[in-house]
């Protein structure tokens, strides 16, 4: 009898230990932030609505270690082979405006590069949602001395910025053995609303369509995207011509351009 009790006792210990091990294993897969940022729980809630996440090295976020120019921090996100990607959210935990951009790659490659503004050192993350609804998260710490977000745009101080507002210039590169590269620039102040006396004024939506007018991909952008934004996207080799870019800013100004 006493042996039995002892055995049951040890069994209990053993099973609870293995339960802890199992929980810890799942934990490492889903919610231990490799960037070890105290903000993870908050952004998990605000940016991804507490939906299921996996930290995944195949979501490659390239930012420099040090911002250097906080108004122009380059970032690129490339998602490796983890299946079809429905949406990519790019955000910075410690930015006054965390949300930078949502990219819906649709029929093009899950790759996007652009520049954005930061106010202080912060994790920069990209979360890519696969068809099963799971967010695959990658990221990198960015060191910054500040000043990017509360400074007015350069163009808001220039008299003639309205003349070029919404102008689009672009180029498509055909490349051997890799996808075609599309780069386009849109003239826009992209004011954050955080600089005194200058309201938020930014591009909200960009849609990339093929020559039949079918949607290939779209981007929802937010205030932290840099002034006169410059986007790079990758498309299937030698397939597209006569692409168009349409969209609008938060004041209803339209963007509409046949890309070169």
């Amino acid at each position: 009898m006493s042996i039995n009790i002892k055995q049951r006792f040890y069994f209990k210990i053993f099973s609870s230990l293995s339960l802890i091990a199992a929980v810890n294993f799942v934990y490492a897969q889903t919610s231990v932030d490799p960037l070890d940022a105290p903000t993870w729980e908050t952004v998990h809630k605000t940016m991804l609505f507490n939906e299921e996440v996996v930290f995944d090295e195949r979501v490659k976020v390239v930012v420099p270690d040090v911002a250097e120019d906080p108004m122009n921090v380059p970032v690129s996100v490339r998602v490796g082979d983890i299946g079809e990607i429905e949406e990519i959210r790019v955000f910075a935990d410690l930015n006054p405006i965390q949300k930078i951009l949502n990219f819906y790659p649709g029929k093009i490659e899950p790759f996007i590069a652009f520049r954005f503004k930061v106010q202080q050192s912060t994790p920069v993350r990209a979360a890519a949602r696969t068809k099963d609804g799971v967010w695959h998260v990658g990221g990198h710490w960015l060191d910054a001395t500040g000043g990017g977000c509360t400074a007015p745009s350069v163009s808001s101080g220039l008299a003639n910025w309205e003349d070029t507002l919404g102008d689009v210039k672009s180029r498509l590169w055909s490349r051997k053995d890799q996808p075609d590269r599309l780069r386009f620039r849109i003239m826009h102040p992209m004011d954050t609303g955080l600089a005194s006396g200058i309201p938020a004024f930014y591009i909200e939506l960009l849609e990339l369509k093929d020559s039949n007018g079918d949607l290939l991909a779209h981007i929802e952008s937010y205030q932290p995207v840099s002034e006169n934004p410059f986007f790079s996207l990758d498309l299937e080799s030698n397939r597209y011509q006569g692409l168009t870019l349409t969209g609008h800013d938060n004041n209803g100004n339209q963007i509409n351009k046949v890309l070169q």
Binding site: V63, D69, T145, W173
Partner: protein, 323 residues
Amino acid sequence: MKPTVRFFQPHDNVSILMRTFSVLILFILTIQVSKAAELDYNLIAEPVVEGTYVFVGSTKYFSKQNGGNIVNTAYIVTNAGVVVIDTGPSYRYGKQMRDYIESTTGLSIIKVFITHHHPDHFLGNQAFNDVPIASLSGVINGIKLQGNAFTDNLYALIGDWMKETEAYIPTEVIVPGKFSIGGHEIEIIALDGHTDSDMVIYDHTTGVLFPGDLVFHNRTPAVANANIQHWLDSISKLQELNYKYMVPGHGAVISDEHAMIQTRDYLSWLHKHLQNALDRGLAMSEALTLELPASFQSLDILHEEYKRAVLQLYPDMEQNYFN
């Protein structure tokens, strides 16, 4: 699993707590005292020629370890007193530099020249606030415009070394040309390219040339405010001068063209390389990670400075690409 937290119970020995606490305080105080004592640039001047000396700084980037002493500052001992060229990265540096000069020469300082508006070259100005501090109007404007931002940035980069440092604006505008000071024929040459205004000082009496940051020696050039084409033109002009020794803004003193050629080659490569990246459709983050040629590996902090160059130059180059 949460770690177990153990609270001291009321019956725990209070004196143990107190003792631990006071030992801790003593420990913190010791650290503070030794930290304050450590903030010494240990400046020792090296002679270039008789009567001309240079404080040679590190060829690294700003850090809390080097206190921003990554720069060359210099002085010329003349009949009338000492002429100082650049004042270093902080008030502390300026004071230590001045103490060293006055105690070794026994002479007073009669003039300070500032070569350009970058923080490692002028933030020691406060230590010379009773002496005329002279520079080109372009340099002075640069300090007025960017001096405070540079100062804030250096507080972030080197911390305590910057204590009490402010951007002190030069007090005297100088025009390019030749003049005599304490028996030295000094020529001021106005060039640009490293910044919008770079002042070169050429001592005809000793043959020593002070090109400021238009020349880097065994150190990757910094291009934060650079116009590379102008910089290359300025180097061609410097090559025509008949100097004996050159005191570059960063790196060891040199008597031949080697440092100028290094600087020129890196800059022209950098410009072509970034233009080529743009022409291939590369995004800025892709340009950051490109391979660098083996021929530049002898330049200190190549990878660090290259990345900064991409961050500083690429946005404008991208904008111009579509203009």
